[in-house]
Symmetry: C2
Subunit: 264 residues, 2 copies
DNA sequence: TTAACCGTTCGCATATCACGAACACTGTTC
DNA sequence: GAACAGTGTTCGTGATATGCGAACGGTTAA
């Protein structure tokens, strides 16, 4: 049950991945700049860039190398193959229409939260929040979707994730105590939805519900988020939870329907 | 002026790229399946997958490996960094509203056409066309955007691209003769826009205009496409060309404005 | 029970990659 | 106008990381 005997990995591939990430972070770079950034020699860095370019993963304009549109292609392909997007995008759009707020569809990968799809409702606010959610990947313990997912994991995996990443404090409201988090997750399981009360960003609240497979594995979670001023009272405690859980259930139904027809 | 002395390239990186592409094509795969597909040994294939997984580029569910959401992140990052998207997305949306048809924003990379952004107008039709445009990358010589771009390239680059890829026939209307293409490109330059008259897909016409930098380099092209039945007469010969050129000009202005302010 | 599949691990031989030094080119500086 | 400090690029070499095959552990089917 333990997948820990770290398998043999290829340094050359690892370095290639770091080159790609660095190009993204820097928004394109020259050979020398990249070499410094990665701690590689200029000549080696050049070889990596030349290879990625030959494979059309990277383009060169003038003397700077950038990630190519191949990544956009791969990204949309990944999204379209993802169960949550295939069976959830329409429902997410509907929910954004209904609530008028920001709606997110997230999945967990490698113990971190990844954005699958997001839609801004008519009254959706929060340029800052929007930008924050643009992050590569983020921790699970301070978002409504993250907590909704964590609450569904078997304790073994939960603990391994917490061990690996810890409970980083993002705002003063972030839960940083392990026992408090366990209590919180218990409440999430009881209520069927999770809440983010300014734990990720000051002034922003969110309500999230997990999307669970028919075999009980979590696929991810749906959330609605908005300003604290608006997210209050009956809306925050009843209407939104109901709406979010409803959407999650619709998506679950779509997923299960499709997997049922697939096995005919 | 010749960049041809093919530089030294890293086989390990090339193979990693092929693994990624194969995972995309197959929509996820097991070790043995991938090894067969790539002509590598099982053990080597495993090492590649293990490395890509460690770098969080790949996820493993059960016994099948799939591309991770990292690619979606990288893809949207690439799009948001792309000049055409930054300064063109709004205009493209406006054009889709105005015409009610399918609108595309494309760029050339490595001599092929890459989709940057697309918006479906209200009456937009063509599921097939839509799917076709989902392609990884396509040739330049049979699309309106592709021809608009080709018409702006210096003859050296143009010839190198044609030498590399040839004039593949996609439909019976595709231009497969070099001289005829040169004539066509000359007309494109004279009129300021390019036409695709069922050269890519039967029954689909399109009008495209290039987006050119202030130093004269092509950034890409805009197009409007739709069914032959509707794309006819005054609309096809005057209104749409005017609209498409207008949009291209707006995007050019945005791009130049931004590069002007940047150099202060 | 056996057999035929998986995915994974490991040792070994060899091909591959990292480095530094040199090159070509550009723009700057004095 | 010449020397210089920056680029990006090429190439030879030695150290080592990688590819392979064989074997292992597991699951499913016969």
């Amino acid at each position: 049950m333990n997948d820990d005997h770290s398998p043999r990995t290829l340094e050359t591939v690892t370095r290639a991945c770091r080159v790609i990430e660095a190009l993204e972070e820097l928004g394109g770079a020259g050979v020398t700049e990249l070499a410094d950034h990665l701690g590689l020699s200029k000549s080696s860095t050049h070889s990596y860039l030349a290879t990625l370019r030959e494979q059309q993963f990277v383009v060169k304009s003038g003397d700077t190398y950038e990630l190519g549109l191949e990544f956009l292609y791969l990204g949309t392909a990944v999204r379209h193959n993802h169960d949550l997007y295939r069976h959830g995008s329409e429902e997410i759009e509907r929910l954004a229409d209904e609530t008028g707020e920001y709606v997110h569809l997230m999945a967990e990968q490698h113990g971190l939260e990844r954005n699958v799809y997001k839609v801004a409702g008519e009254n959706a606010v929060g340029a800052e929040y929007h930008a924050r959610k643009q992050q590569r990947a983020d921790y699970l313990h301070f978002s409504s979707t993250g907590k909704a997912v964590l609450a569904q994991l078997e304790t073994g995996r939960l603990e391994r994730i917490l061990d690996q990443y810890g409970l980083v404090e993002r705002t003063e409201h972030t839960i940083t105590d392990r026992e408090r988090l366990y209590d919180e997750l218990q409440r999430v399981r009881e209520r069927g939805y999770a809440v983010n009360d300014e734990e990720e960003i000051q002034g922003i609240r969110a309500v999230g519900a997990p999307v669970v497979d028919s075999d009980g594995t979590v696929l991810g979670a749906v959330s609605v988020s908005g300003p604290k001023s608006r997210f209050d009272g009956e809306l925050f405690n009843e209407e939104l939870p109901e709406a979010v859980i409803g959407s999650a259930n619709v998506i679950e139904a779509n997923v299960n329907m499709s997997s049922a027809t697939r096995s005919l």
